[in-house]
């Protein structure tokens, strides 16, 4: 007698919500976009949108609070006819070129020193970072005080030591001195970034390489040229890239120290943008100034990253 009992397959218990969520989150095709979305949204809102607006403004005759019309590349063409803009263009390259070069040389030197066995090594490394940590506007005010024609401690010291003739250099009032002043402050502020990043690169170089070189009779200079520098190249590439971009777009130091003067001799793109776009209301022209170097910087970034990638591979 066949048993009449039909085999009933009991339905598998439905996994709990927590389990389902875990399974769902384990799927890479979902988890990846989920993690990227907040960053992407931030980039869209805080970078892409203002950037697109800046491009639109630069191609228009936008004036604060008034309706605007597209004018093509007229702003870019007109700017080149302006003496103050051409001066700014030149200033930006002089300022960035000298600052980055000096920061690179001093940064490597400082990193090599910090890589030695020193007393109070951690304290010194921390102290080196100070100029980079203090808000730029605040520290630049201190420098402004030091360069100020009435109260200049730099001139006072120079005169006291007999290094300067009275009344001493007019740091912020003569164009070469003023450019020197803004470059000095930029170097002072940017040097820690170079030094600490390069130091990280130095610490990653295997000690065995130096030991082997020493055994082969290579001195410190040859070790630097044939081991340290080649292995630091990727780090240097990134540091130079970042510093070039930051220095080209510098604002605080020039604004606080000289306001772009004397006779526009220290204006950079950011300070001229403020003067034209915000203080005078001509947003279109101001946006064009700020975007003028964008194609050049894109090329620099592309070239640098390509070179770094090649070094790494």
């Amino acid at each position: 007698m066949a048993s009449g009992s039909a085999s009933v397959v009991a339905p598998a218990p439905r996994p709990g919500f927590a389990l389902r969520l875990r399974e769902w989150l384990n799927r890479e095709e979902l988890l990846g976009p989920l993690f990227v979305t907040p960053a992407l949204l931030l980039l869209l809102v805080l970078v892409a949108y203002p950037f697109c607006m800046a491009i639109y403004f630069s191609l228009s005759d936008a004036f604060i609070g008034r309706p605007s019309q597209l004018v093509g590349i007229r702003n870019f063409v007109n700017l080149w006819q302006s003496d103050s803009f051409r001066q700014t263009f030149q200033n930006a390259f002089v300022f960035t070129g000298i600052s980055v070069a000096v920061k690179l040389v001093l940064g490597i030197t400082l990193a090599l020193l910090l890589n030695q066995q020193l007393w109070f090594k951690r304290l010194i490394r921390g102290a080196v970072l100070l100029p980079w940590v203090i808000p730029t506007a605040l520290s630049t005010l201190g420098w402004w005080w030091m360069f100020n024609s009435l109260y200049s401690v730099v001139n006072w010291t120079g005169l006291s030591l007999g290094l300067m003739d009275p009344p001493g250099p007019n740091w912020l009032g003569q164009k070469y001195y003023a450019m020197t002043a803004v470059i000095v402050v930029n170097i002072w502020r940017g040097l820690p970034f170079f030094a600490i990043t390069i130091l990280a690169g130095l610490m990653a170089i295997p000690k065995e390489l130096y030991e082997a070189a020493e055994a082969d009779g290579a001195g410190p200079v040859r070790q630097f040229w044939y081991i340290t520098l080649p292995l630091l190249k990727p780090v240097l590439g990134i540091v130079i890239l970042f510093s070039t971009i930051f220095t080209f777009s510098e604002f605080n130091i020039v604004y606080v120290l000289t306001h772009g003067g004397p006779i526009n001799s220290t204006h950079l793109f950011a300070t001229l943008t403020r003067q034209v776009g915000l203080e005078s209301g001509r947003i279109g022209e101001g946006a064009a100034i700020s975007l003028y170097l964008f194609p050049v910087l894109v090329f620099v970034v592309w070239a640098q990253l390509r070179s770094v990638r090649r070094e790494v591979l």
Partner: protein, 424 residues
């Protein structure tokens, strides 16, 4: 209980639907709160007084007010961001030509101006020129600051010098002062004080930047050349090169710290020296602004209050303007707190008691024959004339000339820069 709840429910939901449909909250729930963005006054006690008045205003009217202060150089950028985002403060303090720059964004305040002019008399010409835009009051003038000659009376007496009557006299006096180690302090740099002096000197020689039509550049003239030559010899024989790096505060500091013997500035240098009890306070005095072949001209800096069009509290904001400027006793109290740095801007109040509060303010009353103008005069205010001012073309042109360029080259440079802006 049930009925009561149902009735309450119906009343509340009905009310909510009404609010949502009209977008207007009931009067009872409307927030009577306004905000005012104004500059960090160069007479700090006036800011303190403004805060006191604001507290009384809230007590008297029930309208809360928040006052935010901002440094003068940051004003333009802050206003630009408020206008672009269509959000921010209700009331804004505006210097000189700002109402022209933001004309489309400011409400019409002609009604309040009619009330104020009825009470205090007509607004001064400089205030009217700058706040009344194409026949509409876009802002309400609140006070003005006049430039004047500020000098070290003790040094003048010691050297047997008389206060200079003309800019040429100043050159003669300046040479002596420099020999005494107390040079003349006129900034030639990218700041507004530089324009405030260069303008009157240019006008006194009969020159101007742009013609009355506001379209034709007029800087390339023999009068400008005279002005440049004057600056060259002043820079060489009466001043120190440091004036090329000065900011708006530097000339004040130079006379307060005992270095400069003569500066061109409102009376703030003296007021601050006196408030800080500096030894120079007793030795500083003022005299009538020097003149030239084309008369005696001076810079006037009127300041106004405007209300943004995007403000949702225009009526309470107007009430604040009426309270501050329309009530004579409040306005007097406000003006007195500035100690003659900021003066009444209405005709009937020109003989204000604050001018008699210190004998050293006598020069501020000695205005006979002095023509007061704002930057860019005689061109009518416009965004282009404003850009010429804000690009510091006038001081940069002078700086070029005093640091090596020929007068002709400097003027040609200035004219070209101005033409580009006007063509723009």
């Amino acid at each position: 209980m049930g009925m009561n709840s149902r009735r309450r429910f119906l009343t509340r939901t009905g009310g909510l639907v009404g609010i949502l449909a009209t977008g207007i909250p009931p009067a009872l729930g409307q927030q009577r709160q306004i905000s005012y963005l104004c500059w960090n006054n160069f007479a700090p006690l006036m800011d303190k007084k403004l805060d006191e008045i604001a507290v009384r205003f809230t007590k008297d009217t029930g309208i809360k007010i928040r006052i935010d202060h901002i440094a003068a150089p940051q004003q333009a950028a802050k206003y630009a961001s408020e206008v672009q985002s269509q959000s921010g403060h209700d009331l804004v303090e505006m210097r000189m030509h700002f109402p022209w720059l933001y004309e489309a964004q400011l409400i019409d305040l002609s009604g309040i101006m009619a009330e104020l002019e009825k009470k205090h008399g007509k607004a001064l010409a400089s205030a009217t020129e700058t706040a009344k835009v194409r026949g509409v009051w876009r802002a309400v003038p609140q006070y003005h600051g006049m430039f004047v000659a500020t000098y070290r009376e003790d040094l003048f007496k010691k050297a047997g010098l008389k206060p200079p009557d003309t800019w040429e006299d100043l050159y003669i006096v300046g040479k002596e002062l420099k020999k005494m180690g107390h040079p003349v302090g006129i900034p030639i740099s990218q700041n507004y004080d530089s324009i405030s002096t260069a303008g009157p000197v240019l006008w006194s020689f009969g020159g101007m930047e742009v013609e009355k039509d506001g379209k034709t550049v007029a800087i390339n003239s023999p009068q400008t050349a005279q002005m440049i030559e004057w600056y060259k010899k002043m820079f060489r024989d009466c001043m120190e090169p440091e004036v090329l790096s000065w900011d708006d505060a530097s000339n004040n500091q130079a006379i307060q710290q005992g270095k400069a013997g003569w500066i061109h500035n409102p009376v703030s240098a003296y007021i601050v020296a006196r408030q800080m009890k500096l030894p120079t306070a007793d030795t500083i005095n003022h005299h009538k602004t020097p003149g030239g072949p084309a008369g005696r001209h001076e810079t006037d800096v009127p300041r106004h209050i405007g209300i943004w069009k995007f403000s949702k509290n225009a009526e309470p904001a107007k009430e604040f303007i009426r309270y501050l400027l329309g009530r004579r006793e409040v306005y007097d109290e406000y003006i007195k707190s500035a100690d003659a740095f900021n003066l009444p801007v209405y005709e009937n109040l020109q003989d204000h008691p604050v001018l008699k509060s210190d004998p050293k303010y006598a020069a501020l009353q000695d205005t006979k024959g002095v023509q007061y103008h704002c930057y860019g005069w005689p061109a009518p205010p416009s965004d282009k004339v404003q850009l010429i001012t804000n690009s510091f073309i006038l001081p940069n042109m002078i700086a070029k000339a005093v640091t090596g360029s020929t007068t002709k080259e400097a003027i040609a440079w200035g004219a070209l820069e101005m033409q580009k802006i006007l063509r723009g």
